[in-house]
């Protein structure tokens, strides 16, 4: 499934919603610039049409008359609907801008598809080459185009929203719900477009490389993107925005108070909107701190630690989103996104290690309980005998190979990291001599379980397990022979 068919629609929705948001805020600042509800249809229609036209039909040879007719299709009806007044300039300008934005996105999608024409199939099949080649041509990498626009429009909308809220223009306005709705649509469309563009680019590269990834990948990709969007919408609309008392202002006030007054902690005062923060009187005189003690320093350290943990959590969340979006291309991230991805990777590794540690402890506890003896801890940590083997939680074929390798390792038949399981199997075949078929059966079964897509089921699995247990017995017997040999030699 190619996502290209959906991307122009998303680009159109994003362009129209961003421009409408801007127009609504402009209407709040200057009521003369208010836009009528029917303009929504014009902005959306022109952006979607322009994006599809650019993505599928537009070429350098497209006559200018066709382009002008296309633009006229939107502007002429608008001229009459605007009442042939000066308002046409404002409404027509917005429609033209929406049409241009859609065109820009569509053209970018078309260029992304032409990567093989520009670079040749072989080069296009190599991600790094494509990246470097595009950069050397003075073009920004394909996905950065979408990212820059998303960030740029987001920043612009944030500035407008902040200015409108500061002036109290939104509260109580009949446009409040429209602004909220459009903000949500722009966020969803923008992020879906970003994720979709990334997937589209990968699909292009896969097709150049003639690679056939899992057909379910686009569906999984979109599902994950949907989950992230849902989480973001919940965060934006439901979660509290003010994370007090962990604001920079509050922490700054606390720290300042501590440095100035030692142990006595100032209590943050509730203040109404618009009121400037009231710093303690001592702030005016930066003299020697009075009574700065250990408790103050401890509190300072705790504050910094809390701040660091909070920052790490935010970085890890951002890293999770980036890793989910970029998957294998995470290594190409730079700067802050790279730091976020690294924070997420570190957190994941720490959790995995913690989980492994807990599992090990859980495994060792029953063994320790089963084998209390004079040797205490050492005996408990040792692997149980053959009788108790299959009562362990790890009793699959892979676990059995690990046991075989551990036991054989003690007899000088170590499973080297650079050996494949089958190479190790052949080593055991040479050593155990008469057990060639048994070893071949076990190791072939192991390979099917370890490297196959389907594994082994039922009777086949039982046969392989039986073969493995037999091999284990032979290896343990080998130890007996060695001991008796050494005993004989010693005698």
């Amino acid at each position: 499934m190619s996502v290209k068919g959906y991307l122009p629609a998303l680009a159109g929705i994003f362009s129209a919603s961003v421009l409408l948001l801007g127009a609504l805020y402009a209407g709040l600042f200057a009521p003369a610039l208010a836009v009528p509800p029917w303009l929504w249809a014009f902005l959306l229609g022109s952006a979607v049409e322009s994006a599809y036209f650019a993505a599928y039909l537009l070429s350098p040879r497209t006559p200018w008359t066709v382009r002008l007719l296309e633009l006229g299709f939107w502007l002429v009806p608008l001229y009459f609907l605007a009442g042939r007044s000066w308002r046409f300039l404002w409404l027509g300008g917005l429609t033209f801008l929406s049409w241009l934005l859609g065109r820009d996105y569509g053209a970018q999608l078309r260029d992304m598809e032409r990567v093989a024409d520009l670079l040749g199939d072989q080069a296009a099949s190599t991600v790094s080459w494509e990246y470097e080649a595009l950069e050397s041509q003075g073009q920004s990498p394909a996905v950065e185009f979408f990212w820059r626009r998303l960030a740029g429009f987001g920043l612009l909308m944030a500035v407008l929203a902040s200015a409108a809220h500061r002036r109290g223009l939104v509260e109580g306005s009949h446009l409040a719900w429209q602004l909220k709705l459009l903000g949500g649509i722009a966020l969803c469309a923008g992020l879906t477009l970003q994720g979709g563009a990334y997937l589209f680019r990968l699909q292009m590269l896969w097709s150049c490389a003639k690679a056939e990834p899992d057909p379910a990948l686009p569906r999984v990709w979109m599902r994950n993107l949907g989950l992230i969007l849902l989480a973001l919408l919940v965060l934006v609309y439901l979660a509290p925005v003010d994370y007090s008392p962990l604001t920079a202002e509050t922490i700054g006030r606390l720290v300042m108070g501590l440095l100035q007054r030692g142990w006595e902690m100032p209590v943050p005062q509730e203040r109404s909107a618009g009121e400037r923060p009231q710093f303690p009187q001592e702030e005016a005189t930066y003299g020697e701190p009075q009574g700065l003690d250990v408790a103050g320093l401890v509190f300072l350290i705790i504050s910094f630690l809390l701040l660091a943990i909070f920052t790490a959590i935010i970085l890890a969340v951002v890293g999770f989103i980036l890793v989910e979006l970029t998957k294998a291309e995470v290594e190409r991230l730079r700067g802050l996104p790279k730091l976020a991805a690294a924070a997420y990777a570190a957190l994941r590794k720490a959790l995995a290690e913690l989980s492994a540690l807990l599992r090990r402890v859980k495994l060792q506890l029953p063994q320790a309980r089963r084998t209390p003896g004079p040797l205490g801890r050492d005996q408990g940590a040792a692997p149980p005998g053959p009788g108790a083997r299959m009562h362990l939680p790890e009793r699959g074929i892979r676990a059995l190979l690990r046991r075989i390798a551990r036991e054989a390792g003690k007899k000088g038949l170590a499973f080297l990291p650079s050996q494949t399981p089958w190479e190790y199997g052949k080593l055991l075949q040479r050593r155990l001599g008469s057990q060639e078929d048994l070893i071949a059966e076990f190791f072939q079964g192991y390979q099917a379980v370890r490297y196959g897509a389907r594994g082994l089921q039922g009777a086949a699995e039982q046969r392989v397990l039986a073969a493995g247990r037999e091999i284990l017995k032979k290896i343990e017997a080998l130890e007996g022979e060695e001991q008796s040999d050494s005993g004989t030699r010693g005698g």
Binding site: Q122, S125, T420, A453
Partner: protein
Amino acid sequence: MTQVHEVAEFGRQMMENIGSVMVGKETATRMLLVALLSGGHVLVEDVPGVGKTMLARALAASIGGSFSRIQCTPDLLPSDITGLSVYDQRAGDFVFRPGPLMSQIVLADEINRATPRTQSSLLEAMGEGQVTVDGQTYRLEQPFLVMATQNPVEFEGTFPLPEAQLDRFFLSLSLGYPSVSQEKEVLYRLQERHPIEDVAPVTSPEQVRLLQQAITKVYVEESVAEYLVRLVQATRTHPQVQLGASPRGSLALFRAAQALAALEGRDYVLPDDVKQLAVPVLAHRLTLKADSILRGVQPAAVVRDLLRQVPVGAEELN
């Protein structure tokens, strides 16, 4: 839907068929089949007279495909291999006469004797599966396999293949001299007539195309893919290597491992497949440092050294 067992059956029949012409070249034949199924091209570095042409002809005859041979010389022109447009007086127009490159199995003998210009004209055909003559692009009939040879001993008057072109070859192999018994068998087989004349097709080019599709479905478990990538990356950091294998090398090794697994009747790849293919697929892509070359280090030895170092990652024993 073509299944993996059909690939295995194809491999068995091909080995048998080609084996009736080539004596004791099972490994080389298997590698050639891997390249054919992967849609790649083969570089054979060996001395004259060990059966390179016979191998290519036997392959072409076994799949019922067209075969042509290009004897590369310094005066060979690109148009000599791609074909050219000649003026047809009766039609009053230029008519395209296809060159030997338009066959399905092409043997480019002693490729390093051709000029770089002619060598590079092979690039488009090998990389893109098409040739462009007089601004007109002609698609090459699939399956398309170029088997290029070069003499590893004699270098006078040759134009060594540049790294970029070497990288285009999916794998490199060497046939080697036969043993005494094998050479004796060759003598008796060729006593009356050459067995290549009796080689009948065991499959068709269409079937090979289907099999090429089938091998892409072979499952590669993540740890095997990771091992493969680590191996390729290790070639880039090896102290004796100036230029390691490219990501194209990883792709080639990945696809070759899938083909080998399918030929052995498995629908999943083993690390053993990667190990078996590492030297043929990676060695010719390495550029050694000058001092290593002077010391007589061979790229294949470097790859074998890496195979002894890079962990397979089968099981964590600790």
